[in-house]
Symmetry: C2
Subunit: 602 residues, 2 copies
């Protein structure tokens, strides 16, 4: 039997598996990904990318293509019954994204296959492709972690033939780590007997994708429609395509005996007929064809555990299921992987303690639970009848829009907050009240000291697995401040400093990227007066000042709540704030990094 | 002898020739380009792209790459003698681009070869490559323009062998049109005896390209330095490269007998030594190597004519030479071609009268003359001694910076103004005081009516050779305004309307792109209440309103000086305003288009 070794084996090439494989490959990790499906997704499935996920794409240099290929959803429109109850009318149009710090104040909609193609193409450039159709048939973790040269997870793989049957030849892969990103019915999860906690609702929805021919004026906006004949949601898509979510009577689609969806009972034409009743007086002509359609029951469940011995992890739909209408599923899935990737990379390189891996479940399972609590609320409001004169118990527009906006931070992904842990230390939170420890660094414009070019601070935080040390230097045109920075540079470069100790091969820039941000003014600053540590290249020194047109910049210290005496900010490789210290806080920084980094052997 | 036919033969594959070939190929014209040089430019030469030229690149979808690969120059710094005259000091830092409407408020610097590669790669995708090394040896225009199936220009080409000698086999190309973009010593220009008018100056400058090792704090800014030991200019480049322009004593470099530059007399090390004296007390270490260097005398000349019988045209350096320091040369050259391309395309398709071609010389020769007048002024100020206590006749900083800022519209390319002609009719200028007829449409943000997505109006004006008809509809939420638009649509679609008459095959969108811009409010607008002509697709209807974050948009009518009753604006295929009329001005529009369009034969 063929045997091989790999650092990480990823099972499943959906959004979670591809984000994981892509991220690991980008980090230089030896990774392999297998998938049971013979081809990639062609249509349908998930399709909404949240503002925070766009930021993540941008941190990998992938946002341009995503935005170019996708549709932008800027507006949420709300329709409710007319006073006489005969039809619906426009009640409100509001921003789709209500998180005030979103760098991208819109959602991108694009079919799942096109999103996956962004990863697949980047992976291909790095020489990594999906092995398919390949089915895993057994998985086990050796008790001796040094087995097989430190590859303790044994997975048996079978290639499938054209009819989906396992071919006779099988292959054994020994992996250091396995990531199960194999969907809601995860084989990896079931293999280890991890339970899904939660329940199924009574809400049944149909979905149709099509190019509509309609007189409905908000067909290109995200539209939430409550009518006396049921609820609908519009998600406009790339090109002229549109997705309709249509509430259906459970009994029309569910087999009474088994309790399961019977797709044969309702087709896309029947679903569109249901929608037509809700949309009256607006009309939809029958399209030439439907791109995709489905029916589903909303279930809200979270896996009881996200890992097995910190050697096998599950991510994405394998960990959590919920309603698709708030556009959370694919985003949560990709962000699971994004959270895991840098941690795996650091542990694999021997630069971090395996304890770092425990923060994956800690951070992402809590998020999934929050997501499901949110989803229960939202699904109930959305599937409920509208409040009218006759039905005073219904959901009022005010109630619905309040929920929509309250949960804006959540649905945008911007408000994700990781609780204190070894990698999120809130000790000096007061030194930068606007940089919330455990949250992502919010956007701000800086200008580069040497050439006055404006930069978005998020673009200084690429997903390159390095820790970013943002040194808010105070006003470096003041000699006293410069003198303090000289001592700080000396302390940071001393032989027993964490910077020296943990830097592989003694090269600081391998693990740490130091960026300085001065509050000096652009007209007079002498950028090369800074100690060389804080301008290792001329491109590493920035100013919190307006750009030369005066239109952007100059608000970073004030927005982040950083005072004139400055601060140091650790940004994790995933863009989340890890710690803040004063400029004389090298000891605190040292403690932070010592809690999970290891002195590298090389 | 091999014979062939082509619609347009371009001679010379520098910036002017490549912009021409690329633009024609993009327009679907059968075009061929030849160049005498065996390879494309690898380093040095021109390297600065002005704000207006970036807009032109953007109109072709090429700006992203240009900006990604290039360096951005945002700041102009000025150094002058210290009060004691011992060295230099910083006098001022100001925005490099002073044109207030520049969409890109910076210049991009990138070596000429990289800029050319942007065109070469795009051309390759369209199946067009440069034939090189190929030398033209004879050119003649047949008196009978119907000769050779309407290809009256006969050019003999010789392929060159490895040593630059003409191979024996030659080829005859019959072209409908020839564009000579063959540089300052243009063979095409000389073949037809076109004179260069103007003169050579006494100013001699050296240029060195290198990665500097210096303590000079403005090495990444455009720096103009006046010292008692001569003048210098810094142009930072892509990566860590920098270009220095260094004033040299004429007699040090010029052969007294011939009056020509003798490159052997001064090398890059000698040039850097000259610069070191100007830069004192700042220092430059000797670099490991110089990327490129040259010495030149500033000459300021314009060709007496830009065309021969409107069949052979010259463009770029073949038409005008001037000093390179204001970064004009390559920009002027590419914009010559940009001006010519759409006119050639329309005449070749039979959609426009050949008279349209006369506007090329009319518009671009005047521009070149303005450029040279500017250049004379600027070169004199720049090459002059600085004003000091001892030299009160010298150039003061105030005088220099005033010239720098006064000419900002000019050096940025933004202020280029084409005089009235058949394609620039100022009749109704008062209806849109902020849209200057003969100038490019200045940037403004709109939002799309159907989905609230913000757009830069320049992105609605791609270089697709179509005329854009911007219909500023007024407030379409008002029934009376809608009624007027209904009549307007009817008039525009009547059988004898210019839209119907000039549209090839009766398809309006082949030649005209109609975009509507309403002053209605986003919260209540019903975009599909507009007559279908003004929303031929849902993506064609826009609003002059703020976007949903409230940060941009809503100032288009006011900035353009358009009143509540609206206006129609013709934008030429090159993005310049051609005419403005009231909403009841179809007759004026008709007159405008009838003056140069032809009823297509198909």
């Amino acid at each position: 039997m063929k045997e091989s070794q790999v650092d990480v084996l990823v099972i499943g090439a959906g959004p979670a598996g591809l984000m994981c494989t892509f991220g690991l490959a980008r980090a230089g990790v030896k990774v392999r990904v297998v998938d049971e499906r013979p081809d990639k997704v062609a249509a349908g499935q998930a399709d909404g990318i949240q503002p925070r996920t766009i930021e993540v794409f941008q941190s990998y240099g992938l946002a341009d293509r995503l935005i170019r290929e996708g549709n932008q959803m800027h507006v949420a429109a709300f329709y409710n019954p007319t006073p006489d109850g005969s039809g619906i009318e426009l009640t409100d149009r509001v921003p789709d994204v209500t998180a005030p710090t979103a760098r991208y104040p819109f959602e991108v909609t694009l079919h799942q296959g096109a999103i996956e193609a962004i990863f697949l193409d980047s992976m291909k450039e790095m020489g990594v492709e999906v092995n398919r159709p390949v089915r895993p048939t057994s998985i086990a973790i050796s008790e001796d972690k040094s087995d097989h040269d430190g590859h303790p997870v044994r997975v048996v793989l079978h290639r499938l033939d054209g009819t989906g049957n396992e071919e006779e030849d099988s292959e054994v892969v020994y992996a250091k780590y396995v990531v199960g990103a194999d969907g809601a019915h995860s084989w990896v999860r079931k293999s280890f007997g991890i339970a899904m906690e939660g329940e199924q609702t009574d809400y049944v929805w149909g979905v149709v994708d099509m190019i509509p021919d309609t007189d409905f004026p908000d067909i290109r906006n995200k539209t939430a429609l409550h009518s006396n004949n049921g609820s609908c949601m519009i998600i406009p898509r790339e090109g002229d395509k549109v997705r309709l979510y249509i509430q259906v009577e459970g009994k029309a689609a569910i087999d009474a005996k088994s309790g399961r969806i019977e797709k044969g009972r309702l087709g896309p034409n029947e679903l569109l007929d249901v929608a037509r009743k809700s949309f009256y007086p607006y009309t939809f002509k029958t399209p030439q064809s439907f791109d995709w359609w489905t029916i589903y029951i909303i279930g809200q469940r979270v896996a009881s555990s996200y890992s097995v011995q910190d050697r096998v992890f599950i991510a994405g739909d394998a960990c959590h299921t919920h309603s698709p209408k708030a556009g959370q599923g694919m985003n949560a899935s990709m962000n699971d992987s994004y959270n895991l990737v840098w941690k795996l990379a650091h542990v694999l390189r021997g630069w971090a303690s395996p304890d770092l891996l425990k923060t994956y479940e800690f951070e992402r399972r809590k998020y999934a639970q929050d997501l499901i609590n949110f989803d229960k609320n939202f699904a109930k409001l959305f599937s409920g009848k509208p409040r009218t004169e006759l039905n005073q118990d219904g959901v009022s527009h005010e109630e619905f829009i309040r929920a929509f906006q309250t949960f804006g931070g959540f649905t945008s992904g911007i408000g994700v907050h990781y609780e204190p842990s070894i990698i999120a230390n809130p000790k000096h939170q007061n030194l930068a009240s606007g940089l919330v420890i455990g949250e992502r660094v919010p956007p701000q414009h800086l200008i580069r000291a040497a050439d006055g070019r404006p930069f978005e601070i998020q673009d200084l935080l690429p997903s390159d697995t390095r820790f970013k040390l943002l040194v808010f230097t105070g006003n470096t045109s003041e000699p006293s401040q410069l003198a303090q920075l000289q001592s700080l540079a000396q302390e940071l470069q001393s032989p027993d400093s964490f910077l020296t100790k943990f830097s592989p091969g003694g090269k600081i820039e391998t693990l740490f990227d130091i960026v300085s941000i001065s509050s000096a003014k652009k007209e007079s600053v002498v950028y090369n007066a800074l100690p060389p540590l804080f301008r290792s290249h001329w491109s590493k020194a920035f100013l919190d000042d307006t750009n030369y047109t005066g239109q952007i910049g100059g608000k970073t210290y004030s927005t982040y709540g950083i005072g004139t005496s400055g601060a140091m900010v650790v940004v994790r490789p995933d863009g989340y704030v890890g710690m803040v210290t004063p400029l004389n806080g090298v000891a605190d920084l040292s403690q932070y990094f010592t809690s999970f980094l290891r002195v590298p052997s090389n």
